[in-house]
Subunit: 639 residues, 2 copies
Amino acid sequence: MTEVSLLLGYQDDTFSHDVAVALQTVRPESFDYVVTDLPHVGGGLNIQTRSDITVVEAKWWRTSVVGRCPGSIEEWPNYLPWAWHMNLPAVILPTPDDNIPQYSQQLASLALSALQEAGGSFQLWVPVSLDAASIRTWQKIISACQYPSLVGVLLEIPPIDGDPREHMTKQMTLLHNMIGCGPIKSFSIRTSLFLTNRQGYPTLAKPHQYIIGYLLKRLGRTLKVLLINDTAATNRGNFQQYLQHLRNRDSVTAVLDSSNAQDEHDYLDALQKPLQPLQDHLLFATYEVFEGDPIKYQRYQDACRSFLIERQAGTKTLVLVVGAGRGPLVTAVLQAYRASQSATLLRVIAVEKNPSAVLYLQSKQQFDPLWQQFKVQVVQSDLRSLEDQFCQQADLIVSELLGSFGCNELSPECLDTLLKRCRPDVVSVPTRYTSFLAPVSSLKLHQEVMAQSFYPDNNARVVGQQIAVETPYVVRTHAASQMFPEQTCWTFEHPTIVDDTSRKAKLVFRDNRGAIACGPGYGAVDEMVASSEVDTEPWIVTGLLGTFSADLSPDGVHKISIAPHSFSVGMFSWFPLYFPLQHPVHIPPQGIIDTSIWRKIDEKRVWYEWMATVMDADGNLLSTTPIHNPGGRSSHVSL
Amino acid sequence: MTEVSLLLGYQDDTFSHDVAVALQTVRPESFDYVVTDLPHVGGGLNIQTRSDITVVEAKWWRTSVVGRCPGSIEEWPNYLPWAWHMNLPAVILPTPDDNIPQYSQQLASLALSALQEAGGSFQLWVPVSLDAASIRTWQKIISACQYPSLVGVLLEIPPIDGDPREHMTKQMTLLHNMIGCGPIKSFSIRTSLFLTNRQGYPTLAKPHQYIIGYLLKRLGRTLKVLLINDTAATNRGNFQQYLQHLRNRDSVTAVLDSSNAQDEHDYLDALQKPLQPLQDHLLFATYEVFEGDPIKYQRYQDACRSFLIERQAGTKTLVLVVGAGRGPLVTAVLQAYRASQSATLLRVIAVEKNPSAVLYLQSKQQFDPLWQQFKVQVVQSDLRSLEDQFCQQADLIVSELLGSFGCNELSPECLDTLLKRCRPDVVSVPTRYTSFLAPVSSLKLHQEVMAQSFYPDNNARVVGQQIAVETPYVVRTHAASQMFPEQTCWTFEHPTIVDDTSRKAKLVFRDNRGAIACGPGYGAVDEMVASSEVDTEPWIVTGLLGTFSADLSPDGVHKISIAPHSFSVGMFSWFPLYFPLQHPVHIPPQGIIDTSIWRKIDEKRVWYEWMATVMDADGNLLSTTPIHNPGGRSSHVSL
Ligand SMILES: C[S@@+](CC[C@H](N)C(=O)[O-])C[C@H]1O[C@@H](n2cnc3c(N)ncnc32)[C@H](O)[C@@H]1O
Ligand SMILES: C[S@@+](CC[C@H](N)C(=O)[O-])C[C@H]1O[C@@H](n2cnc3c(N)ncnc32)[C@H](O)[C@@H]1O
C-alpha cells in the first residue's frame, strides 16, 4: 500500500499574519494548509495591511489557507467578507461562549450570508471540545440554527482527564455521539498534549492514540487535521511524522486504503434514489458492478449446491433463474452443479424482462461454453406471468430481487405471484429475508436531505421539502452513528404464500448497549469497541436506517446480510436505506425511541410510512414526528 | 506545441456488429471510437445475439462506441433502449427522408425519452449533408422539434460539385449558416472522397482541405470526426494520418492550441451572469485573472503616457484612479509617468469601494516600492460620493468600469456623477465607448438558455423560461455564427455631462456581406474569408450579440475593442453579451432584421429591453418577437 497523506494543517500565532512565510516554512514539512487570522475590513482607520496578499497567488488562498475569525462572532461582518473575497475554503469561528442564543443567532445569519456570498463549498468550522458540556452546547447551537449546510465542527481533542481507561471509554461515547451531531469537518490537536519519548520525539499517550486512530477509521477519508502549536515547539516536522505514523498504522490503512474503501469514496453520505429494477431497466454497467461482488454469488452458489447435492441421480431438476439480469446466478447454478457432483439431470431456464439484458443472456447462451453445454434456455418474460409449463415443472427458483431493506424491490410480490403457480414443494433461493431498522444520528445526512429539496424534478419544479423528507434514500452512511442495535421489522418466507404483503412493525429502542460497535450503521460491528458503555449523553436522531439479511437456503446455513450484527464482510452490493425524519429529534440520556414503520400496498404501488416518538425513561412523551409519506404521497415503488 | 489528437472515429460495415474486433483493430491506429449497428431489442424471435457484449467492458461502450440506428426513425423504440442500456455516448439516426413532419414527430418523442432514460449528456446525431437542400430540411425538422438539447448534427462532407472555387465559396456560406443552426456535434468524411497522391497515399482536394481546416478552426475544440470507409479501403492508418495532418497544420494549431484557447475551453458557449462590480464585491481571483490581460493595461498605459507627456514641467498633476480594484491601473499610471519622462509633479489617488480590495491597495501602498516612491494615496469610497477636494483638483480620471456591452456595468452613471463635480477640463481615460449589436445564429446557445430555466434560483424556485430568455448572458460564443457585421447602438463620452443616460437604438440589418468573416462574433474578423459572398440561404437567428469598443484617449489613438471589426487581438478580459430571443426566428434569403434595443434607467436600476422583427426584401413583415424584459422585470443592473 502506498503511503497516504493526512490532510494536515498547521496553526501557529507567530505565522498567523503572513501566509507567504507560513506556507514557505511548513509546506516542505508536508503540511497541507496553514491558518491565518482574518484582517479587519470593516472600514475605519486602523486597516491591517499585509504583505502576503500582494505576493501569494489566488490558487494558494483557495486551497491551502484556512481563516480564523478574531474577536467574537458578532464581529463577523468585519472579517468574513475578506475570506469570501479570497475564496478561502473554510473559516474557524470563535469558540461558543455561554450566551448560546446570541451565538446561534449570529451563526444563523452568518451561514445564510456565507451561502449567498461564498457558495456551497465554503465551510464554517465551530470549535467544539470533545467533552460532555461542549457537546451539549453545540447541540443547542446547531439546532437553533436549523443545521445549515455550511456549518461543521472543528473537534478539539482535550487533555486526559482522570483515569485513562475511564477517560477513553467516555471519550468513545462522546465521539460516537459527536460524529452524528457534527458534522465533524476537522479535528485539532495541540502540541501541549504531546509527551516526549526517550529519543526526545513527540508522542501521544495511549488514550489519545486510540481516540485519534478511531476518528481516522471512522472519518479519515473526509477529515482534515489541524496541529496547533501552543508550546512554541520548533520541531514541527516531528509532530507531522508522528501524526502521519498514526495514519499509517495497519489498523487504519486496512479501513481507509482498501480497494473497497477507494471505490466507495464518491458514495460516502451521497443520497441516491433506490433502484427500481421492476419498473426501470437496469443498465449494462450496473449489472457489471453487481457482478464484481466477491461474496454474493459465492453464497448463492453454496446454497444451490446444498440443494443439488440432495437431488437423486437420474431425476430431472429444473432450475428457474428469475430476474436473471446478465446471468451471474445462472453461472452460479451451473458451477454449483459441477461442484456438487450431482447426477441429477439439470435444466436451467433464465427468465428476465429487461430486453437488453435478454439480448445479453441470448448471446451468453450462444457464446459461453458452459452455458452451451447445459443448453441454458432464455425466456423473455415478466416472471409474474411466466408460462405455466415452466412453473409447474420447476424444482428450484433462484432469484435476487432484494433491495437494501430486503423487501423494497418487490421481491415478495414478484415471487409470491410466481410461486402460487408452482408446486408447493418448490424451493426458493432465497428462502427468507428479514428487514431491520435502527435509529441513526447524522446531521450530515439531514443536510443532504435538505439539499435534495432544491433539486429540480422531472417537471422542472423544485422537489420541495415534503417530498425530500418523505423519500427513503440508498446511502453509504459515513458521517453517521447508529445509536441502537438494529431490530427486526418483519420477515418474508418463500414458498409460503401469504395473501397480504403489507406489514407493520413497532420497535421500541431503549437499551443502546453495543450501539457504538455499529459505527455508521454500515459494515460489521467492530468487536474492538463492542464493550463500551451505554450512552449517557443527550443526542440527536435524524433518521432510521434500514438493512436486511437473507437466508439463501431453507436450513439457514447460507446467508447474506448488511445488518451490522450479521454483516457479510466483503460484500458490496447493497448500501443501507435511510428513512429521514422531517426534523432532527432530541433524545435525553436514557431516552426511549418508539418507531413505527408500515409497508403498504395497493394495486399499482408499494410504499413505506414511518414515524418516531421520543419518551424519557419513565415513558413521558417528549416529542413526536408526523407520519411520513402518508398514502405514499411522496415516494413509492411501482408494481 | 505538442501534437494534439483529433477525436476520430471509424465506421466500416465489416465491423459494425463486433465492437471487440473493431476496437482491437482500429485503436492501435489512433482511432478513438467505432460505430456499431444497434441490435433489435424489441422482442420477437429473431434476436441478434452478439459476442462482443459478453467480452467488452462497460467503460469501453461508454467512451469508445457510437451507435447507429438501423432502419427508419419510426423504429427507434426497438433500437435506442439498448444504446441507453449500454451508456453509449451518442447514436447516429437515419438520414431524414422527405416526410419531414413524420421525421420531426419521431425525433421529438425520441429526444424526450432519451433525456429521461439516458440523461443530459447523451447525444442524438442526425446526418445532414453540407448542401443547401439538406440544410433547409434540417432547419424544418429541428424547428418542428423545438431544438431539444440532446439533438445535434453529424455533418457530412459532400463531394465537390461543379467548379471547385465556386463550390468552396458556396460551402463556406453553408457552413457558416450550419454552425449556427446545428449544433454540429461531429462531421464525417468518406474514404471515397479522397484522392491518391503520387506516393499512393490518400489525400484530399484543396476545397475539401479548406473546408475541413475551417471547420476545425471554428469547432475543433468540441467536434468529433468520423471516417466512413465506403471503399473497402484497408489502409485506415493512412487516412488517420492525413486527417491528423490537417489538424496539425499551423493555421489550425495556432487557433486551437494557443494558451488562450486552452484557458477558454471551459467557457465555450457557457452562459454566465454578467458581473455586477458595483452591487457586488469582486473576488481576489477575479482581479488576478483580469490582471493577466496582456493588452488592456498596456493600452491604458499608452493613453496615460499621451496625457502626461503634454503636462508642463513643474505643474502639479492629480490622477484619480477610480474603481482601482487591486491597483493595476495605478501601476500603469506610474509606469506611464516614467515612460513619459514628464516633469510634472505627479500625485495618484486610488479610489475603491470594495473593502477587501482596499486592504490590498493599502498593502500595495505599504509594500510596493514603486507605489511608495510616489506615495500613492488610497481612499475607500464610492466614487460617486468622493470628497469634493479630490474632485476639484483632479486633472485625469482613469477608470475601467466597462462591461462586455460597454455601458452595462454602469460606467456612464458612475463617471457622470463624479465628473459633474470635477473641473470641466478634466480628462477621462476612457474618453468614449460605443456599444455594438449583431444578430447571431446559435441553436447551441438557445439550448443553453432553455437549460437555464430549470436551474433553481436563490429562493429555491426554478428560474423559469421568462426570466431565462429575458436575461443577457456573458458568453464566449463558439458554436455560433454572427450573421451580419455589427452595427453601432450608441456612444457615451466623458467628461461631457448628459442628464439622461437612457438610450435607444433601431438597427436594420439587411446586407450581410462580410458576416462570415465575423465567425462566432468573438475575435477579429478573419481576413481569409472576408471576401466571401452574401448569404443566399435561409437561416435562423437566436439572439443579438453585444460588444463594445472604447477610445481610451480623447484623440482616439489608444483603443480597446471586442467588436469583431476592431477587435484587440490578444485581449481576453471581455466575452460578448448575448441577448437571447424568446424563440429562434427564421430569416429567408435576403431577409431583413430590424432590431430595437433600449437602455432604460430608474432611481435604482439600469436594464435593457430588446426585440427583433423580420421582413422579406420587400419589407413585408414575416415575424416579430415580443419586447424582452419590459420594465426590467427579469434582469437589471443595480445602481
Ligand atoms: C437486482 S437484479 C439481479 C440481476 C442478477 N440476477 C444478479 O444477481 O446480478 C434484478 C433483476 O431482476 C429483473 N426483474 C425484476 N423484476 C422482474 C420481473 N417481475 N420479471 C422479470 N424480471 C424481473 C430485473 O430486470 C433485474 O435484471
Ligand atoms: C472591472 S473592475 C476594474 C478593476 C481594476 N481597475 C482593473 O482594471 O483590473 C471595476 C472596479 O471598480 C470598482 N467600482 C465599481 N463601481 C464603483 C464605484 N461606484 N465606486 C468605487 N468603486 C467602484 C469595483 O469594486 C471594481 O474593483
